[in-house]
Amino acid sequence: MARKAVAATLASVVLLTVLVVADATVMSAQDNLASSAQTSHLESRELLLEVSLAGGVSLQVLAQVQGYLSANPAECDSLPRYLGSISASSGSSGEDSGIAYTANATAGEAPSLQAPESDNLTILAPFAGGVRGALDLREAFSVKEVGGGGSVSLEREETHTLNVPIEVDSASSLCASALDSLGAALSRSPCNATLEQAAFDSALPGLVADAAALRFTLTAGWGSGAACSTTYWVTLVEPGVAGATGSFDWTVRGFGTVA
């Protein structure tokens, strides 16, 4: 009887020990699985954050450029300088799902393109990439993310090309041709306001039509100055430019004088 009791006790001890070891093994495996899944989740979250931050700060940059363009008319004779002076920057920092992040973007005019240029910031389509004839921007973007107590981090520096769909080339050529035409018309009859007005009225409809064909509205005027000089001006407006953060008007002005 005593032997049977000892045997039963030993069997129970062995059985329980095996159960504990098996449980610990399964527990350890599940712990590793949970840890891997958690790391994988942090990585996927960091990638999602990176995409949304790149798009978000770039959109802020585009909004700043749009604001500048709509508030500041360009001058025909200094269009390259006007576009070259454009710069915008934006940043974002904070914490999301235990991931601390910082993102910054700075943009300025891109070198003129010979062909359309694609960009992998597709979340900003159709404003990602370069478009010939439009205002193209070159953006330097950097992002740093740290999650999981420093165990999972992501750091990137990228260069993107963005576009604001104003018709720079069209505005430049329209402005130059309109000023040339008005200058030529007004110079035919100096010091004769009646003939000058007739020449101006004759030239204007064609210029308005040319501008309308390129989706611009054109207004122009003229006035007599001292010593028979004549001053004339042209205003071109590209209305309802469909920008990344809404539509806006872009204005280009030009002046000329006939001595």
Partner: protein, 121 residues
């Protein structure tokens, strides 16, 4: 002597059973399943963002945005887009989803929050 044997045996059994209860593998397994589901949701939010684009979320009407969220949802995956604190009334998240995730976008004109969840089958 017999009493001591019984006490030691019972004590060991109690210890082992306690360890088995403490080392419950169900908790980490559930954590792994939840983390996996969160990754699926993050991937789904990323796909939705790539599909509609940020300019759309920054400029479109509430109705258009809600239509896009409804279009991206299916039987198990749900989306809601909250624009300036207003969500899509037609989309109702389940009271006890398998997992849920959200992403806040600081867009120039308005804050937008994308919420996604996986419903239990």
């Amino acid at each position: 002597m017999q009493l001591i044997d019984i006490a030691v045996g019972s004590g060991y059994a109690a210890l082992c059973l306690s360890l088995i209860v403490l080392m419950n593998p169900v908790a980490p397994r559930e954590a792994a399943v939840e983390a996996g589901a969160q990754s699926v949701l993050d991937s789904a939010i990323s796909s939705y963002l790539q599909h509609v684009g940020l300019p759309f979320l920054a400029t479109s009407s509430d109705a258009a945005i809600c239509a896009s969220a409804a279009g991206a949802s299916n039987a198990t995956l749900g989306f809601d887009v909250i624009v300036q604190g207003e969500g899509c009334g037609s989309v109702v998240a389940p009271s006890s989803p398998l997992a849920s995730s959200s992403l806040t976008l600081d867009l120039p004109s308005r804050p937008v929050v994308i919420e996604a969840w996986l419903a239990r089958r």
